[in-house]
Point group: D4
Chain length 208, copies 8
């Protein structure tokens, strides 16, 4: 049995409600063409690791933020390109960097990585030095830098996180009024911490 008192009489005709819903969907689908920014004007830069629930950890919902993720959550030229575009053209005014413990970027020595890639390149019939680093931008070149530098392994994840916040804050293609913060996600506890603030570290012993 229908209870007529439940009806929301915001609309005098049903087609008005349908029209409003059609317009909302159009705004969503053509958001980029219409110049509508993300709901939180936010870019997240995080590691591509399978254990990082980026949206949950930051309390984000679909539509809130653009999410850049690569191996290590490292600031590369691709991060600069992506951040420059969104801050200059899509009204993004905040960047949050998320690194994490037990990162793959800390799990091997530089030598082991270089040796492994050398084997693969040779299996493909080329020298590691001759590999085309960017198939769609052949002009891209790392000059005298070594493959190890290009791969960007990490010694200390807290230092790395802090350094990357600084890189982004100072970069010329990112406007000065963009706010940049950084956090380390602890895969062992499922919580974020500020770089260097390891909660677990001191609390199993008598305080002095």
């Amino acid at each position: 049995m229908s209870d007529t008192s439940d009806h929301d009489h915001k609309y005098s005709h049903i087609h008005e409600r349908v029209d409003e819903s059609i317009d909302a969907r159009d705004d969503w689908a053509r958001r980029r063409r219409k110049g509508i920014p993300t709901d939180e004007n936010l870019l997240v830069v995080a590691c591509m690791d399978e254990r990082i629930p980026v949206e949950d950890a930051l309390g984000l919902e679909l539509g809130d933020a653009q999410i850049y993720r690569n191996a290590g959550g490292k600031v590369t030229d691709d991060v600069i390109r992506s951040a420059a575009l969104t801050t200059n053209f899509f009204e993004t005014d905040e960047i949050v960097v998320v690194n994490h413990t037990d990162c793959g970027m800390m799990s091997a020595s530089d030598d082991d990585v270089a040796a492994g890639l050398k084997v693969q390149a040779e299996a493909a019939g080329v020298d590691l030095d001759e590999v085309d680093l960017d198939p769609a931008l052949p002009a891209l070149d790392i000059g005298d830098a070594s493959v190890e530098e290009w791969v960007r392994m990490t010694d200390d994840i807290d230092e790395t996180c802090a350094a990357q916040v600084e890189f982004l804050e100072n970069h010329e293609l990112i406007p000065d009024d963009v706010t940049v913060s950084g956090y380390v996600y602890e895969v062992e506890s499922g919580e974020l911490r500020r770089p260097g603030e390891r909660v677990a570290e001191e609390i199993s012993e008598r305080r002095v």
Copy 2:
């Protein structure tokens, strides 16, 4: 009231169950150090757009896949670096590329983007040509390529998606036995399609 018949007598002592759970958590937290791959041996490459529910669209859960995301879901040197690492060192054997309609990479002309970035660089006191593209790898250089090429705008998202699958399949740092597929996510319907297979296109008119 407790029903003793519900107990799972897999364990003769409770500490065995606790120990098993502690070991499972250790495997999760130290997964990279212990050489445990992602649950689906999968790398996803997708756009960083805020409207793309990457995990939901592909039916993935936390732990299943590494997820690379940048502006446009474009194959850059950072994608090559990330893909080379995971396929050579983390047992990943499948790559899925996800582009999408109404992408920001299709929403402006090359000239508009170049002009906008030039203004920002000059506001920061440098020439656009002199900008350091990678703050952590100063040796990185795009030679004669233009800023427009570096930014990588797109004309047709279906063609782009197909091309990127080919780039990844042929790259020397990615082993031959890695499977690569590509899809376009339609933000207007919330569904994936294979590149070029636009379901909506022909079905509003009489078939002949």
Copy 3:
């Protein structure tokens, strides 16, 4: 344990609440006899296709609207009869037409349909021209019109939808103050669009 503070003391005796509920049920069951209109004073005209969730698509609940459905959601004399009755006798003041993509009315040529019906009529021992189109109203006749015209196949669903809104707006048996709107339901996306506004059409290519 009962919490006496939860009781709604709107009624001083329980039989008052029971009486009220009996009266509400009587109003529902004898609604037509008592001259109570639909909760939204609405008639929907839609296709009988099995994939169209008419109520969900329009946000309607049981009791809100009368729902006319036939093959194609086409405006026929039966639509006119039904619409004339409800707008003149049941206080309905809005009509919404819902057509849809991939309609059966677009899936065959006029000739194929005519040929198929001819075979069936002959199997039943009559000529297609002699078939009684309305068993309860033998006087009904389509004169010189062909069976193809009676069946009403469609070339373009968006044009058809717009035309039907116009037919209803102009019909002499439908009062002038009735509001008429039309939508196309996209079975591929599960969304309504206004006729001609195909969201998906242009957003996979660079805007100019």
Copy 4:
């Protein structure tokens, strides 16, 4: 924490699962073009009354059945057209007719309806006899039949329901092997009955 043992290893690669889902959606969206019938090969003919939950009453889900609805759930030429199309071209082999109690078709006398429509026609500046009954098929004509006959009021809903089942069973455009049944939906109890089987009728008095 992810439990790798939960994974369904039906697929060796994720893209196989995605491909399967894309194909299923294509079958749904292009069902008519591909010649896929309704899931239950069923056409329902029901009244357009706002109180009839057609799908719930018959236990149907989206995709199961085509649903024809008009004023009264009367068998008109439009029902014949719709039924002829689906049984001859879409593999439908069952028709269920659903009439209901307290129908609007029983709530007025023939004279009152004729008088009301006459007033409306004249308000629109035409004689009731001159009204175009079908704006898209001007050739349609009811000859000597009266407007009252065209409107088709009902005296007894159980008799009407049974008669309509017979009309459909005997019509030349509907193949002989189509099964036809009819039910009356009781709006006062929310239940279906077979025509004439009024459960409530005798059970308040002593059986003899």
Copy 5:
């Protein structure tokens, strides 16, 4: 993690909340000794039939009403005893009688019942006339009345219900200010009706 802001600081110490809960339970358990009436000051008299959801039909919760049920929901001396007690000693001021359709009291003839009981009494070695009608009150006697009268079969449930309301309203042991109402529960629709108001009766035929 606990959110201290959620605490309800109605109590300065936890034992105050515990004490309050202990007192509430004591009021519930010793309700009769403490002279606390039912929450709705209500007595329901209904049939013992297994299909009657007495509380649901009347919208009652545990604690609201005393519920008298016997074969037929008939007003007997036991009803008078129970009603006299609750209205005179427990503050009850409303009585609702619930009879129902398809009652066992209408399903046999007086003769069949008398014959059946006679067989049983004889199987137990006594004459039906000699049976002790009330094992705890041997003085109880029905004088010249027949067993058929004692068993109280019914011809018309609506008439019976109305008569019972009158019996209770007029009885000397029930105070004048007690409100008495009666309803018939329709087992076929699961709804209550007022005696004589059969909703289903006329609405399948044209109103005149």
Copy 6:
């Protein structure tokens, strides 16, 4: 999107499922006329107290059992009448008696009850001895028994419960093969006990 593989193909046509459901409803509504017993062949005799959740306490669902309830859950001539009918004519083969703690039948002295009823009778203008105990069976008489005996107050609920089981087991109108049991419902714990088995009694003190 509909998944055709979910369909239960027990029925080749939908009308078969509808017919089955109509028949089940008819069996329910005409159960008494068709001679269908309660689902558990059970009669419960309980007190009418508002705190007794009879169905929940015994684990019964609608349709399982007939439920007789009066003041005190006392075995009266009305209980005998009701039990005789259901055991002899409705296939009932089990009776469960449920008394309870803090019963109203234990909350006053015989003298107080007699005095109270005398006041009420006199307010109605009659002597207590002249009151018609059964308005529908005027022949009913309690002879030399006093009003106190008719009202049946109780001293010990466990003894009362056990005595009532015995009354029912031995009564001539109840067949010998009917199983009779009795329980006391503890309103303070919400649990049933067998008469005399007070769980709470000894467990606050050292066992000897």
Copy 7:
């Protein structure tokens, strides 16, 4: 589709919300070091029995109260130590003692317990009198007291509970302004009572 109107604009940047959440977690994890008391400033002293849902019975949530539990819920020197610490150093100002019926401390005689422990001590190769009662505090000694006194069996749980409240109220290491209460948990009903207030005791018999 994201509804931007749902966003809580308490924060102008997302990192502010993340920072707040990190600080809340730090407060929780370092609560003792930071001198944050329990949410309810409460210590509960209860029996270690497996059937006592201490938190549920008192309506407590994680973080609300410290919970001391030992065999019998007896006030021992360990209770005094724990209570002295929390009331003097952690701002606890309320103590609630919870004993219960059917306690293990009431289930054996002093002699049986002494005999059983003697057997075990001898099996371990020592005299019961020589057993080290506290392995971490060898100086602890019970002087002339017997093992039976140390084990503390109970005769009456209500008396014991009341006595323990008094012990705690009067102890010199517990500040005077600490509130102390005591309850007995009834395992047979799942409810708390105040010592001596046995609800169940008298309500099965006629009140006098």
Copy 8:
């Protein structure tokens, strides 16, 4: 409508099911008197800290285990007493010790605690040395041990946990076949660890 096919015909009469349920409740309420052990034959020794969800952390349900809790989760004479009783008389064959990080026992220096208690004792008018440590066992004495030793502060929680497991394993009043284990609960992650296995410790830096 009741579906008779759902009934579980394990019982031929309902009273059998009721009897079984009454017996189960009796076993629960008189468990100790009947000699029924805990469902998991387990004793847990844990800290009384308000942040430790003992049952959840170990996966226990009501009835599974006895749970001893005191300040620090320290093994005192009260633990020995409680453990000796349950292992010798209640069939317990497993003990699990749970200590935790940020324990109050690590949050102050020995001197601060001694000074604080001295102030409180003097406020109560006694010397700290003269305080009665156990009001119900005045003979209890700690001899030459200091109040600091009695209070048992901790320097390293992992060492403490391991030491306590050893104390219990070796104690003469605890049978040899009792299994003892120990865990540290990390309040910052909500997880258990084995003593000394700090997951978080090494994984933020490059492994060597």
